[in-house]
């Protein structure tokens, strides 16, 4: 068992943490959504990678084969991808509406316009 055998998990966790970091650290609403997308995508990897067995084949019963890959994670992740697309689309639509209403997509400028502190508390609340 070398470190390389867990390569896919390292990639998964790297993407996961990178995505989450972008969501938290960036003030631009579009960049936040990009981070959110990376974060969600990392989970797709988490599901799909263990479904593949080394030497495994497509799960169609045949006497010539004994090792099969698990197809279920792929199906699950198809659903998750659809959910991710819907979330991203809705998020972008909201950003469009926010830009129409405020004229900016920088979070701090939006909050300044409403007279709120970053915590969401303030006289304008």
């Amino acid at each position: 068992m070398s470190a390389f055998s867990h390569f896919s998990y390292f990639v998964t966790v790297f993407l996961m943490v990178a995505g989450l970091f972008i969501v938290i650290a960036r003030g631009n609403l579009i960049k936040k959504l990009v981070g959110l997308g990376i974060f969600q995508t990392s989970v797709y990897l988490l599901y799909i990678v263990p479904g593949k067995l080394v030497g495994g084949t497509a799960p169609i019963l045949d006497p010539a084969f004994t090792r099969y890959s698990n197809p279920l994670p792929h199906v699950l992740i198809l659903t998750a991808i659809v959910v991710g697309v819907a979330t991203l689309a809705l998020g972008l639509a909201l950003v469009v509406r926010i830009r129409e209403a405020y004229g900016t997509i920088e979070e701090d400028e939006i909050l300044a316009q409403d007279g709120e502190t970053p915590n969401g508390d303030g006289p304008g609340a």
């Binding site: 959110l36 989970v43 988490l46 599901y47 809705l90 998020g91 909201l94 509406r97 939006i110 609340a125």
Partner: protein, 494 residues
Amino acid sequence: MNLAPHLPALQVVVPLLSAPLAVLLRRPTPAFLVTTLASWIAFAVAIVLWLDTGRGPAISYAIGSWPPPWGIEYRVDRLSAFVLLLVSGMAALILPYSRASIAREIPRDQHYLFYAMFALCLTGLLGITITGDAFNVFVFLEISSLSTYVLIALGPDRRALLAAYRYLVMGTIGATFIVIGIGLLYLMTGTLNLADMANRLPEVRHTRPVLAALAFLTVGISLKLALFPLHQWLPNAYAYAPAAVSAFLAATATKVSIYLLIRFFYTVFGTTAVFQDLPVSEIIMGLSVAAMFAASAMAIFQDNLKRMFAYSSVGQVGYITLGISFDSVTGLTAAIVHLFNHAVTKGALFLLLGAVTAVCGTALLSRLAGLGRVMPLTSFGIVLGGLSLIGVPGSAGFVSKWYLILAAMEKGQWPLVAAIVGSSLLAIAYVWRFVEVAYFREPSTALAARREAPAALLVPAYVLVAATIYFGLATSVTVGSAAGAAALLLGGAR
């Protein structure tokens, strides 16, 4: 054709179908009729399921006749039937209210979309509650969440957009954490069926992925149920959403997430894994107490009434999670009873606040002086709801706090008893702020010209106000169901 065996499927399918129908009909009135009818059917189905599970064993329904654990299973036991009853009942009451309330908040040509989103949100919440399949939980969670973001963004204030966006980001992080948790569990057990998972988990209980899954699920669900300090999305979302949406979310969305937490803690992982292998109990207990004090204190300083009661919701969620953390039948009973009672109370309060904003055009306390004289019925209802939040005897809030205190005494946790009573004093403070402004000040000339809210808004609200009093006096339905569910959950785990 006999529909009775298919009731669990109909519970979800009827509201689901009403959503596209509402979009196809386009006109406000037919869309309203279709979704309201669907919510009433869902409520009727929930009543039948609740009566059935009260008498007999849990109902298992194999979708498409694929037997579990291979196919997706819908499973109705006493706990899920009780939550289904709550969610569908709230929808059946709030939809008729919404017709009069959204007329002032949403452009008329978007009404059909509101009804469609509301029906989808109801579908998602019912689906989370009824399903016995872990991945299905995630799918329904996202159905309800995505429609919730849209519903919040429909609010009349532009700040609703930012509130919806922030909830979208936080909610998606929460949901993704839940998927990670479910994925890790699936890797370790090879099954997605919750009951099957519960059977297979003890073998791998001490492995790191399972403990990580527990952590991911706890954090993810805590985000969705707004456990302090993961509640940041909630106050603005409730404050700027349309009135009917605030009421529906406050009454059901966080409650269904709490149901999910109970389900994963007590059914899937089992109490030994949750409360002995990891210090979950201590962490949740600490955060709950922090929520009870910090969020209630925040509520005192809000000028916007909707935000005030939103912060109060965060505090009240603390009482529920405190009950869960006790790991005892009494504690769990208290949690489930408070889940129900608080939903009814907050539903009533937000419906009444919707009436206030509809008539006065504002929910800012500083501009509502003398409200008690202008809108006597509405103000009186808010005070009654406030009494239930405090936990005055005779109101629903008293019953649940009583059981919570009993559970704390059972564990010998006297500081917690003091904390429960002490944080209730904070509730007195913010409710008193409303009483002081509404009853002890002269109305301004602008406000004095207003009249009491129309009956279309008051009647549904008063049904819930009456319910808070009723469930404070007659506790057999709530405590009976909750105690039965709690005994079953803890009995099954040992």
